[in-house]
Structures are given as structure tokens and as C-alpha cells.
């Protein structure tokens, strides 16, 4: 019998998990993740990212909390709404590592030849 079951990640979930791990310990907000992925063919989409984030949070792969202080670009008098910031949980890190291990086991898979 294998140990504890690792949650499988979909492609979009893997991109989000990767971005969150790459920027650790800084938490990211949804639109920031969309922007960070904009140069790749696996670009996250504005409308669907929150549905995916919601699913990931329900699976325990990420946690979120509302921003406590406004970002520097918000000037006095501007409207401000706290953003929801996301962080990867240990379960999320484990799931991403498991995916990377699985991919690495197939020679040449997802690597440029």
C-alpha cells in the first residue's frame, strides 16, 4: 500500500501552484497570477481563475486571506477594496512535487528536444 494519497492537479491548478511556489513567501492575488502567466501559452484567464482558486481552496491546496494594508499604488482618496491573497499549503506543495516527479519519470515528456 502506498502512503497518504496525493491530490492530483489539473493543468490550470498546476500553473497556479507553480506561480504561488515561485513567489513564496509573498502571497498573490488573482489578477497578479493572470499577469504573471501572460507570457506563456498556458495563460490563466480572468474569468476562470477564481473558479479554479475556489476549487483548489476546497481541496486544501491553497489558503487565502484578505489583504490587511492597501498596496503602495493606492493613493489617499482613491477607492480601495481589500484583495484576497492566496498562498500554497503544504498539501499543495506536495501535490505539485508529485506532479513534477511523475512528469520527470517519462523521459523527454514536456521538455524541449
Amino acid at each position: 500500500m502506498s502512503g497518504s494519497k496525493v491530490t492530483k492537479l489539473s493543468l490550470t491548478e498546476a500553473v497556479i501552484a507553480h506561480l504561488l511556489r515561485q513567489n513564496k513567501p509573498k502571497p498573490l492575488y488573482g489578477l497578479e497570477m493572470v499577469r504573471l502567466s501572460s507570457d506563456s501559452d498556458l495563460q490563466l484567464k480572468k474569468g476562470t481563475i477564481y473558479v479554479t482558486l475556489e476549487r483548489m481552496e476546497k481541496k486544501g491546496l491553497i489558503v487565502s486571506e484578505l489583504e490587511t494594508t492597501p498596496p503602495a499604488e493606492v493613493k489617499k482618496g482613491d477607492f480601495y477594496i481589500p484583495r484576497r491573497m492566496y498562498k500554497l499549503t503544504p498539501k499543495g506543495i506536495k501535490a505539485l512535487q508529485a506532479l513534477e516527479t511523475a512528469v520527470a519519470k517519462i523521459p523527454g515528456f514536456l521538455t524541449r528536444s
Partner: protein, 144 residues
């Protein structure tokens, strides 16, 4: 006992499946019978069930609102947006899209912000509907 009668998430999902399968059967039967009224009534009843059931289940998630007060952005009315997010039961969508309005990428005028909310909410609604339908037919493994 009342406590024992509380439905769990998976029990509700099975109830939804039952309703959907009954609705599909009703639609097919009415189509065979060439009864447009019966067909439309079945469709209407299914929609009412879906709207009411989702709203009742998901309202709980918004009981502990983390925002101290309702956001005020000049030129934007959040009422419909809030109701839709409550119906979807998605705090992530609610806080996510509200927070995005602070970002310069979403636009600077009230018209641009409204457009952003409308577009992203429409995509999110379609995505959620797709996931829900796939889950009801045990096809959620195809969710990307």
C-alpha cells in the same frame, strides 16, 4: 429527528442528480408527446429548483462577511453582482473581482470597471455551470 434530517453535501448532490435525471426524462417524454406546455413547465420547474436550492445552500457561506462595510465605488452598483456571487456561493469570486477593481489593469473609469465585472462574471458563470453539469453526470474528472 431534525438533526439527522440535515442533508450533507454529497446527499444534496445525489438529490440534484435525481432532479436532473427526472427533468431529462420529463423533457424527453413531453417531446415524444409533442407537448410544448409540458416541456416548458418541466424546464421551468427545473430552473426554479436549481435557483432556489443553490441560493439556500450557498447563503451560509456569506454569513461571515470579511469586509467591514459594503464597498463604494462611484458609478458602480454592486447589488446584482453580490446576489449572483451569493447564488454561486463563491466568496473567492466575490472578493477576487472586487479586489481586482483596485488594479489599474481593470480600467480607470466606472464604465470600464463595470465592463470588467460583467465580462469576468459571465465567464465565471459559464465555467461554474459547465463544472456543475459535468459533476452531475459523474464527469467531473474532465474538468481542466
Amino acid at each position: 429527528m431534525l438533526n439527522n434530517a440535515v442533508l450533507t453535501g454529497s446527499a444534496l448532490e445525489n438529490l440534484d442528480r435525481g432532479v436532473v435525471l427526472a427533468a431529462v426524462a420529463g423533457l424527453v417524454a413531453n417531446a415524444f408527446d409533442q407537448s410544448l406546455v409540458g416541456f416548458l413547465l418541466t424546464l421551468f420547474a427545473t430552473c426554479v429548483y436549481g435557483i432556489v436550492r443553490n441560493r439556500i445552500e450557498n447563503l451560509d457561506q456569506f454569513e461571515e462577511c470579511e469586509l467591514a462595510e459594503f464597498p463604494v465605488v462611484p458609478g458602480i452598483n454592486f447589488t446584482l453582482f453580490t446576489v449572483l456571487c451569493q447564488w454561486l456561493g463563491s466568496k473567492e469570486l466575490y472578493y477576487g473581482l472586487l479586489g481586482d477593481l483596485v488594479d489599474p489593469d481593470t480600467g480607470s473609469s466606472a464604465k470600464e470597471l463595470r465592463q470588467y465585472l460583467r465580462e469576468t462574471l459571465a465567464i465565471a458563470l459559464l465555467e461554474r455551470t459547465k463544472i456543475k453539469i459535468l459533476a452531475l453526470f459523474w464527469l467531473d474528472r474532465f474538468v481542466r
